[in-house]
């Protein structure tokens, strides 16, 4: 009780509260701009924390993380440009929904789901951190492999319209993921002697090219052919759905949050993988709903957004308890723990009992602030959307250019972006799924490396996948995800 009172005192004083407001807003703004990822936003804040006490400093960084994970959805929905990697899955249904004139509703859903996910995971973090952290350690190479397979199983629902083409797109994505230095034996693969290919193809520049820039090409084409005025009509502002409407989709909120929290806890797997898996789960379960997934189904926004924010609380669990960051962004937060003078690990929670409670309170406060911050940033974006399309299109291209360049401060990534803008354009024209391509690209790395690592560790034997109960369970779920659509079709045809 004393600890709770103390942490309330630390968090709800004017300085910390204003840091929460600043952190959340700064996070949303950075998140909504493709050039600034959550990790970069946190690094930019780092110098300001040198002179702060540890708790306000950590509170600032965590709120920036939370704001960033939410901000990414704003540009994903309005411009088809995911502002952060976590928001990829949000573009699948968020952008079509906005195109159907329901941009405000899509944004409202994204923010509500984000806040729900963040609050859910904050509670889990507070109540079960030490327990869950040690459970996370049963996740080893064999289990990572299974997790990757489950993610890949999503294509059966993402590419529901044309299975064959979706599978082809995934395979191309998997192939592209093998470019660069092989991460098991250090050999160069498909690099053609070009140094810029050594680190592989960055999926974020592919994503910006194939989604955002390809969409601009498509709109330019429409603009010339029909000479229509593509200007967005009406006012865009964030609108919240009626509570009763949202309550009907409670299961998606909850499942997204649970998946997000769990995947966040698993070391090194963060919001991007969580959101893809949550999206796959939701689209598989509700695939007969109208509007269908990919055309603006509200669950297609709720699932990824609740899970990518839930991954934040989840990823803080192993970061604080074990000193093992739960996501790439949490790794940056952990590095700043050390600068601030805190050593993450079991001792941290014992020595700084207030810290965990303070992060919890800050996450709750920040989640509520998302509604205000989201509204503010949305209204700024709405001004941009009112521009005539030639200006808006140029703006999106410029934003994408900056976004790709700033990944490594390198023009090669811009080059990759333009190549894949053409790929995305033609994929779209011939009904190949761009989302499936990116899914393959993101997961290829995880699947290949964990498979090969498990083989090394198992001294050439594949038994590890069967003898480890958790791995076996995950792989079985993955296989079911793959073949379920075929089975259900078969069952249906027998029934009728």
């Amino acid at each position: 009780m004393d600890i709770i009172l103390q942490s309330i005192e630390v968090v709800f004083n004017p300085l910390t509260l204003s840091l929460i407001v600043i952190g959340t807003l700064f996070g949303i703004i950075c998140g909504s701009l493709p050039g600034l990822s959550s990790s970069m936003a946190i690094i930019l804040c780092l110098p300001f924390t040198y002179s702060m006490d540890p708790i306000p400093a950590i509170v600032l960084l965590v709120t920036v993380y939370l704001g960033g994970a939410t901000g990414g959805s704003i540009s994903a929905i309005l411009l088809k440009t995911p502002g952060t990697p976590e928001a990829i899955a949000t573009t699948f249904d968020g952008y079509p929904m906005a195109q159907n004139g329901m941009a405000g509703k899509a944004l409202g859903l994204a923010v509500t789901a984000s806040a729900f996910g963040a609050i859910f995971s904050a509670f889990i973090m507070l109540l079960a951190a030490p327990l869950l952290a040690s459970a996370a350690l049963s996740f080893q190479s064999a289990e990572y492999f299974g997790l990757g397979l489950i993610g890949l199983g999503c294509i059966t629902s993402i590419g529901a319209r044309n299975q064959m083409k979706a599978i082809l797109a995934v395979l191309i994505g998997l192939m592209i993921s093998t470019i660069g230095i092989d991460s098991i034996n250090g050999m160069e693969r498909f690099s053609f002697g070009q140094p810029f290919l050594l680190n592989g193809i960055n999926y974020i520049s592919v994503m910006i090219g194939a989604f955002a820039i390809a969409e601009v090409y498509k709109n330019i084409e429409r603009y010339y052919q029909r000479d229509t005025n593509l200007r967005t009509k009406g006012k865009i502002s964030m609108t919240l759905m009626k509570f009763s409407d949202m309550a009907k989709m409670w299961d998606t909120f909850l499942k997204g949050s649970i998946l997000g929290t769990l995947i966040g806890i698993i070391p090194a797997a963060g919001g991007s993988i969580a959101s893809l898996i949550a999206y796959g789960e939701a689209s598989g379960r509700h695939k007969d709903e109208k509007p269908s997934f990919g055309d603006g189904n509200p669950r297609g926004i709720i699932a990824p957004e609740s899970s990518n924010n839930a991954a934040i609380g989840g990823s803080m669990v192993p970061t604080m308890v074990l000193g093992i960051p739960g996501s790439p962004v949490a790794a940056v937060i952990m590095a700043s723990f050390l600068i601030i003078g805190l050593t993450p690990g079991p001792l941290l929670i014992r020595e700084q009992p207030i810290l965990l409670n303070a992060i919890f309170l800050a996450m709750i406060a920040s989640a509520l602030l998302l509604f205000i911050g989201g509204r503010f940033v949305t209204s700024q974006f709405a001004h941009i959307l009112k521009l005539p399309y030639p200006l808006l299109g140029t703006f999106i291209v410029a934003l994408g250019l900056v976004g790709a360049y700033s990944l490594n401060n390198s023009f090669y990534d811009v080059f990759v972006m333009f190549i894949f803008s053409l790929v995305g354009y033609f994929f779209d024209k011939f009904n190949y799924s761009t989302a499936a391509l990116i899914l393959g690209l993101i997961l290829g790395d995880l699947i290949e490396n964990s498979l090969r690592r498990q083989i090394i560790v198992g001294e050439g034997s594949l038994m590890g996948f069967v003898s480890r109960p958790l791995a076996l369970a995950i792989i079985v779920v993955a296989i079911i995800t793959f073949i379920w659509p075929a089975i259900s079709k078969l069952l249906n045809s027998k029934g009728s």
Partner: protein
């Protein structure tokens, strides 16, 4: 509508011109370089690593201290593409006017030793100052049957290739350390590469790996929590750190191998001497600054002083290069062309 079409054209052209201008800016500054006053504007510090890693955070913190003595700000910029090669290319293509400084670690020598880049690091750059050493330790999980380094080595000799040691990135420093240590100790073990420190730590705690290697500060987290039992410090003597006083150094155990990471700064070779001296002075003063001492203590990089002046630093490059080249040739990781 005609108007809008022209507008599209105009904007596209505008963007292209802007890109062209940005890429050309550096060449303009060559002619205006004035030797008498240095620096006239901010100096760029190229970090050939991604944001958030130990080397990135070190360079960012250090550059803030240097800025105070230089009188102009030192701006950190990450060029992490192609495993440090992009940073190297960027720095080598910048004019040799002292306005572009490159942070360096053993990784740059490794890239040269593996013949991966067309730019040869040691022929194009010269050192300013080496700032710190980061010691590497080996350990095992606390439930491991191996209690001392002797037990571990005996087991490894009896079961060649059975022990698994983890590390980051194949063909990187961790891979070198694992292989060169094994060679020096006359053992064989299997190197398993991971993508991030997080996965590596999870693998040792979860039982997938037998041997854990890491840099001191990161290693200490798991030691103080009791999850990892430290076995050997890759150093010529023991470290005076609570919890590590009883851990032997590798040399003490008859294994003549001591390699850790280190961090320093370098600059293009043909930079005018006056400018170089201004920079060295500022970096030196930052090194003596109490704020750096505090930072060093916090990150435990002060235990084995890494400080080296330019001349000595340069010699150490050649020695390390030879070691890297030998081991990586054995591992088959040296490019032939």
């Amino acid at each position: 509508m005609k108007f809008s079409k022209n507008l599209v054209m105009a904007l596209t052209v505008g963007v292209l011109i802007a890109i062209a201008v940005i890429t050309d800016i550096q060449d303009v500054s060559v002619s205006s370089a004035n030797l008498e006053i240095f620096p006239r504007h901010s100096v760029e510090m190229v970090i050939p690593f991604g944001t958030g890693g130990a080397s990135d955070i070190f360079a960012r913190q250090y550059s803030q201290i240097v800025s105070r003595y230089l009188g102009e700000s030192l701006v950190a910029i990450n060029k992490s593409g192609a495993g440090t090669i992009e940073g190297l290319l960027y720095a080598v293509n910048a004019p040799a006017d002292g306005y572009t400084i490159l942070e360096i670690t053993p990784s740059l020598l490794i890239v040269e030793a593996q013949n991966k880049s067309s730019v040869k690091f040691r022929t194009e750059f010269e050192p300013l100052l080496k700032i710190q050493n980061d010691i590497v330790l080996f350990g095992v999980a606390d439930n491991s049957p191996h209690n001392t380094v002797e037990e571990l080595l005996t087991f490894a000799r009896e079961n060649p290739g059975n022990l698994k040691i983890g590390g980051l990135s194949p063909g990187g420093l961790d891979n070198y350390i694992a292989s060169a240590f094994a060679e020096a100790a006359g053992i064989e073990w299997t190197y398993v590469p991971y993508k991030s420190g997080a996965e590596l730590k999870a693998a040792i705690l979860g039982g997938e790996l037998d041997v854990y290697q890491d840099k001191l500060i990161s290693f200490m987290g798991l030691v103080s929590s009791g999850d990892v039992r430290p076995l050997v410090v890759l150093n010529d003597k023991r470290l005076d750190v609570p919890g590590l006083q009883d851990v032997p150094g590798s040399v003490e155990k008859g294994i003549n191998f001591t390699q850790g990471s280190w961090r320093g700064f370098s600059i293009r070779k043909d930079t005018p001497l006056e400018i170089k001296n201004v920079l060295i002075e500022a970096f030196q003063k930052a090194y003596d600054d109490p704020q750096y001492k505090e930072m060093e203590e916090r990150e435990m990089t002060n235990l084995v002083p890494g400080y080296m002046e330019a001349g000595e630093f340069s010699n150490s490059w050649d020695a390390e290069y030879e070691n890297f080249a030998t081991i990586f040739k054995e591992l088959g990781l040296v490019n032939q062309q």
